[in-house]
Structure formats: structure tokens, C-alpha cells
């Protein structure tokens, strides 16, 4: 059962790539339907796990990645259905599959330690994950912007030129995704800080490790800094277009490293 969303995501990714390459609208609709099915199956899975465990399955990096995949799928579907623009799907769905494979390696629901029994924990995790989902979309938009930009600049109008929306649209959507992501990340960091201060007296060693010395917290603040700079650069220095696109793609690499690599191997405060 826990593999069903992954299988549907993989099928959707294949269909999105096929649609991107051959632009058959039937394949496009199939891709959307498969992704919708994947998100729905994923919703059921998360719902069942919540009922079984008595709390939302957000404990541990695998569970967080799984929830992130679910949120990203959901936000992408929302954007696709409201903008009627399917070309990003090929990039987003591939990212979904890659991350869901990692999550599927450890499908068990980790019991919630006493430390995490707080609504603040849920708000913290959900806001950060929403922020990451927005940043993931911004990254995809940035990458596609650069691809299209290079084609137009090189006067070689081909593959991406016929498939992607205009540079302007990509840039505006990128700006929105960064703004939304930054708001949620800020919220997540603040709530995380309040919660960490509250649990300082806890005997749990992880509560003691909640400090800037912990790589997960440090890198999260670094990425908050990068995205704050991206916003500032766009609004004040006028870095839009190609520079903003590069920045949002690079910044997401930092987020991804923190989320997956640091989350699994390096952190001492967030290893639930």
C-alpha cells in the first residue's frame, strides 16, 4: 500500500516527460490524472498513518520527506489547474519521484517522542515543508527560465522555445514562489525557535542540541538568509530574470542538502 503513491508518481513523471517531448494533449491529461491519483493515494496513506499512530506522521526525516512530496504534488497540481500550464510537470514530477524513493526506503511510522507532543511542532514542520515546496517550484521555474533564456539568447529556437511559457511568466511565477516560500520559512523558523526555547528544560539530549551549532539549524538559517537576499535583490537591486533564476536554483540545492543529507546524517537536534 505504501508503494502505491510512488508508483503513481513514477507513472505520472513518465507521462509528463512524454507529454513534454511529444505534446500530445491526451498524454498530458493522463499525466495530470496520474499525479492526481498519486496525491490522492498519498493522502489516504498519510490519513491512515495518522489514525494508526494517533498523530500526523511527521516524525523523522523519511516521514518529513514523504509529507514534503505530498505538499509539493498538491501545490503543483493547484498551480497547473489554475494556470493551465503543464510544462513544469515534467520537472516537478521527476523531483517528486526522486524524493519519494528516499522516503519509501523507510516507510515505518516513527512513534512520537514526548518532546514533540506540541502543536508548535506540527506548525513548525508544516510551515517549513510548505516553504520547501515553494522553493522547489521556484527552482524548477528558475531552471526552465535559464534553459529558455539560453535558447533565445543563442538564437536557436528549438525544444524549450516551443514548450515553455514566456520568460516573463516564468519570472513572475518564480518571484511569487520565492515570496510565499520565504513567508512560510520565516514562520517555521520563528515557531521552531519558540518551541526550542520552551523545551530547553527537557531531559531529551536533542532538546539540548537545539542551537546554532547544529548543522540542520545553521543551514536552515543560511537558506533563510539566501532567500531573504533573493527577495531583497529582486525588489531593491532589481535582480530579476536570469540572476533571480540562477539564485533560486542554487538556493534550492542548499535546501535539499539540508533536508536530505544533513537530515539523515549530520544533525544531532533533528534526528527523530
Amino acid at each position: 500500500m505504501h508503494l502505491l503513491p510512488l508508483l503513481l508518481y513514477a507513472a505520472a513523471a513518465a507521462a509528463y516527460v512524454a507529454h513534454f517531448a511529444w505534446r500530445d494533449p491526451r498524454v498530458g491529461r493522463l499525466a495530470t490524472a496520474l499525479l492526481g491519483g498519486g496525491v490522492l493515494a498519498h493522502t489516504f496513506l498519510i490519513g491512515m498513518q495518522t489514525v494508526e499512530a494517533g498523530h500526523a506522521p511527521l516524525v523523522g526525516t523519511s516521514a518529513a520527506i514523504s509529507a514534503f512530496v505530498w505538499l509539493l504534488g498538491l501545490s503543483y497540481l493547484y498551480i497547473e489547474l489554475t494556470s493551465d500550464e503543464r510544462s513544469m510537470g515534467a520537472f516537478v514530477a521527476v523531483l517528486l519521484v526522486a524524493l519519494d524513493v528516499i522516503a519509501a526506503l523507510d516507510p515505518s511510522v516513527t512513534p512520537r517522542p514526548p518532546l514533540l507532543r506540541s502543536p508548535l511542532f506540527t506548525i513548525h514542520v508544516m510551515s517549513v515543508l510548505l516553504a520547501y515546496a515553494s522553493f522547489a517550484l521556484a527552482c524548477v521555474l528558475g531552471v526552465t527560465y535559464v534553459l529558455l533564456f539560453k535558447e533565445i539568447k543563442a538564437k536557436h529556437l528549438g525544444f524549450f522555445y516551443t514548450r515553455l511559457p514566456s520568460l516573463q511568466v516564468l519570472d513572475v511565477m518564480n518571484s511569487r514562489a520565492i515570496t510565499v516560500g520565504w513567508i512560510f520559512l520565516t514562520l517555521g523558523v520563528i515557531v521552531g525557535g519558540i518551541w526550542a526555547a520552551k523545551v530547553q528544560g527537557s531531559p531529551d539530549p536533542r532538546a539540548q542540541a537545539m542551537s546554532l551549532a547544529d548543522p540542520k539549524i545553521l543551514v536552515a538559517l543560511v537558506s533563510w538568509g539566501i532567500y531573504s537576499f533573493a527577495l531583497f535583490a529582486r525588489k531593491v537591486i532589481g535582480w530579476s530574470g536570469r540572476r533571480a533564476a540562477y539564485l533560486s536554483s542554487m538556493a534550492f540545492v542548499v535546501v535539499l542538502l539540508n533536508f536530505v543529507l544533513v537530515g539523515y546524517f549530520l544533525t544531532t537536534s533533528h534526528n527523530f
Binding site: 538564437k155 529556437l157 511559457p165 514566456s166 516573463q168 530579476s240 530574470g241 540572476r243
Partner: protein, 439 residues
């Protein structure tokens, strides 16, 4: 019932003749009514565009086609001899194929142009509103709309600009999205500048600014395009404000150096600038195109894009033709089932009637037989009839050529005098065709 397409197009007739047979001028409804009053054809659709005049008609014999041909000359008061060599006549499946190719833009002057599908829809709409259409033309035109939609959705036939101006506008849209609210600066006031300006104006750009060596020429063009003229030495502010710059000055030295463009870019920050240099010799230094967020295209770049688009359209032709083939096959199968199924049904009914009649005639002799034997006789006679009809039925079902269908149906009608039965079978065909034909 046969389908005919009679007409002329840019492929067969010169523009002088096409102008004279324009049905749209006097109103397509009037033409349809005039044609219907002659009793030519039962179902009628008139398709009249600047590149073609065609009449789709359903009739029983080739006289329908002749009648429509006559109508072309008499309605427009043109000598029949003058028009007849330019007219083409397509029958049955060929007529369907012709319409499907027209709807897909395959028969257009600019292959893949999208307007024709709308024109076909409008032509059908007029005929349908006037109740000149019925089952056959309804099905035919709806299939044509399907072909048009499928070709547009499944192939790249209509994609890519095939003229330099459209290529430039398509590029601008790929950079800026909607061109509404964008500013345009045109350097030069010659013919090329004017043409490009008109194209841009049709995109509802926010403002067009024109600079030319002679201020008067700039002012003239500005009033023509609803823009403003600025002096030749003072266009730098307009350059910094513009999103799209068209250069067509005819100067012998570049007027936009890299440094000048760089200066204009500074206050714009990252706002892109699209420079279209259609002047020969070129007006913009090539190095200006290396600046970040500057997209510089000269006339040769645009021509190359047009060439590539044309080549790509050529590659998509085969895919579009395959879609036409598929839909023609589907339409023919439908048409064929309409034509041949009643004949098959009538033929089988005729055989069955004969069998029953013979059994009844033999009834006194068979009465003495035991019931099992009588059942056996009934079964054997039925099997003989089945066996006799098996091959002809299969053969009839495999006929795909519409003319052959008519010929076969006609022959069978005569040989077995089925005429009345066929008419009767047509009424009940909907319920019987499945069981009768598939047996």
C-alpha cells in the same frame, strides 16, 4: 446517396476568377437558397473564403455534380467554358478527404494556417441554420471539425511563424508574455519600419515612439501608428524606457553601439530589451547582443527562424495526413454501413423469405415426417442459405470504395429485385444491422 465536393481554389484558379465566384459577397444564405431552388442535391453546404469557393452536395447520381458546376457559372454569370477547367469534382470518400484536408489547413496557401477551421465551421453553421444539411453532411462536417482540432492538438503543423514580422512578434511574446502595456521604439520611418510598426500596433502595445533622421517622416509615421515622434538625437530616453526596439534606419554605420545600449540598460536593471534589427546594413553592433538581458535579432536571424519553421511544418505534414487518413477511414466506414448494410439485410431477408415459402409449399409432404426430422429439414435449409450468403456478405463488407458500394448495391438490387426490401430494411436497419451483418 452520394457525396460531392465541387469547387475551385487557389490551387486551380487564378485570383481574378476566385474573386468572381465569391459566394460570401452576395450572402451564402442566398446562394444556398438559389441552389436548393434548382433541386440540385438534397444536402448543401457552401464554403466561400478568399482562397476557395466550394459546394458540398449530396445527390443520387453524377448529374448532381454537373448541376453544381452549372450553378457556379450561372449564379456568377460566367461562361461555363471559362470556369469548367478550373473546377474540381470529388466524390464520396474523396470528397470527405478533400474537406478534411481543407479543415486541417493542409490545402491552404500557407499550410497549417488556423483561420480555415473557423471558416469551415461558419459555412456549416449557415447551411445548418438554413436547414440545408442532414445526416450525411452533419456527420461529414463534424468529422472535419474533429480532424481540424486533432491536427492542431496532435501535430506542430500550425506552429512557428512563417513570416519575418510574425517571427519577431512570436519572439517578443516568448520574452514578454503579453505585449499589452509594452513600450516600442522604432528607429527609422521607411517602409520596413512602417510594416513592423503596424504589426506591433495590432498587438495593442502601450506606446510606440518613432525616431527618424528627418523629424517630419517620424511624425508622419507616428500619426499613422498613433505614436509619438522624438528627435533623432534625443531617443536615448525612449531607448531606456522601451521594451522592444525596431531598427530600420538605412544608415550606413551602426546607430546603436554596444556602449549606447549598455547606457540604456543601466537604469532598467534586469528588465529585458528585445532589439529587432531589420536594417541592411545593420543598425546595431553585434556586441550589443552580448549584454545581459538584451536579446538582439537581425533580419538574417529572423529569416533563419522562418526557414526552420517551414521545415518543421513540412515534417509535421505526414502526421497531419495520417490523421486525415484515419478520419476518412472512420467516415467511410460509417458511410459504407449506411449504404451497404440495408442491401445486405434485404438480401438476407429475401433468401429467408424464399426458404420459408419453399418449406410452406412442402408442408403437406413433410407433415408425415416425425418432428425430429422436420426440425432437421428446417436446420439444413437454413444452413444452406447461411453458407450461400457467407461469402457474398463478407465480400460486401470488405468493399471500401464508395463507387463500388453503389455499383454492388445497384447490381444486387436488380439481380434480386431488392429495391422495395432495401427501403424497408433502411427503416429497421438500426436494430438489425448488428445481428444480421455480424452473423
Amino acid at each position: 446517396m452520394r457525396l460531392f465536393a465541387v469547387g475551385l481554389s487557389h490551387r486551380t484558379a487564378p485570383v481574378e476568377l476566385r474573386e468572381r465566384v465569391d459566394f460570401a459577397r452576395g450572402g451564402v444564405e442566398t446562394a444556398l437558397a438559389a441552389l436548393a431552388s434548382r433541386g440540385v442535391g438534397r444536402e448543401l453546404v457552401v464554403l466561400s473564403t478568399c482562397n476557395r469557393a466550394e459546394i458540398y452536395a449530396v445527390g443520387d447520381t453524377d448529374t448532381t455534380a454537373d448541376g453544381v458546376g452549372q450553378f457556379f457559372s450561372e449564379y456568377h454569370h460566367i461562361a461555363h467554358t471559362q470556369i469548367t477547367e478550373h473546377l474540381y469534382v470529388h466524390r464520396g470518400a474523396d470528397a470527405a478527404r478533400h474537406l478534411f484536408r481543407v479543415a486541417a489547413g493542409l490545402d491552404s496557401l500557407v499550410v497549417g494556417e488556423p483561420q480555415i477551421l473557423g471558416q469551415v465551421k461558419a459555412a456549416y453553421g449557415v447551411a445548418s441554420d438554413g436547414q440545408f444539411t442532414a445526416a450525411l453532411t452533419n456527420r461529414l462536417f463534424h468529422s472535419a471539425f474533429t480532424v481540424g482540432k486533432r491536427v492542431r492538438a496532435e501535430t506542430g503543423l500550425g506552429e512557428g511563424a512563417v513570416s519575418v514580422s510574425y517571427a519577431a512578434i512570436a519572439l517578443a511574446k516568448k520574452i514578454f508574455g503579453d505585449l499589452k502595456g509594452r513600450g516600442v521604439l522604432i528607429l527609422g520611418a521607411g517602409e520596413m519600419a512602417k510594416l513592423t510598426g503596424i504589426h506591433l500596433q495590432s498587438q495593442h502595445v502601450k506606446q510606440i515612439t518613432i525616431a527618424s533622421r528627418t523629424l517630419l517622416a517620424a511624425q508622419n509615421l507616428a500619426s499613422r501608428l498613433g505614436g509619438v515622434a522624438v528627435s533623432w538625437d534625443g531617443f536615448d530616453a525612449a531607448l531606456a524606457a522601451a521594451d522592444i526596439v525596431v531598427t530600420a534606419s538605412g544608415a550606413s554605420e551602426p546607430i546603436l553601439s554596444r556602449a549606447r545600449v549598455e547606457d540604456a540598460m543601466r537604469p532598467r536593471r534586469s528588465r529585458p530589451l528585445f532589439i529587432i534589427d531589420i536594417a541592411v546594413p545593420r543598425d546595431v553592433e553585434t556586441a550589443a547582443g552580448d549584454l545581459d538581458q538584451v536579446f538582439l535579432y537581425n533580419i538574417d536571424d529572423l529569416r533563419t527562424i522562418v526557414q526552420e519553421n517551414l521545415a518543421r511544418r513540412g515534417a509535421e505534414l505526414a502526421r497531419a495526413e495520417a490523421i486525415v487518413d484515419e478520419e476518412v477511414a472512420r467516415f467511410t466506414a460509417w458511410m459504407q454501413s449506411r449504404e451497404i448494410v440495408p442491401t445486405v439485410v434485404a438480401l438476407r431477408q429475401r433468401f429467408e423469405t424464399i426458404r420459408r415459402a419453399e418449406l410452406e409449399r412442402l408442408e403437406p409432404k413433410l407433415a408425415s415426417l416425425p418432428p425430429e426430422a422436420r426440425t432437421r429439414v428446417d436446420e439444413v435449409t437454413r444452413l444452406i442459405v447461411e453458407k450461400l450468403l457467407l461469402t457474398p456478405t463478407e465480400q460486401l463488407k470488405s468493399v471500401s470504395d464508395e463507387a463500388m458500394i453503389v455499383a454492388y448495391a445497384d447490381a444486387l438490387n436488380r439481380l434480386f429485385s431488392l429495391a422495395q426490401d432495401t427501403e424497408k430494411a433502411k427503416g429497421g436497419v438500426a436494430s438489425e444491422e448488428e445481428s444480421e451483418v455480424s452473423s
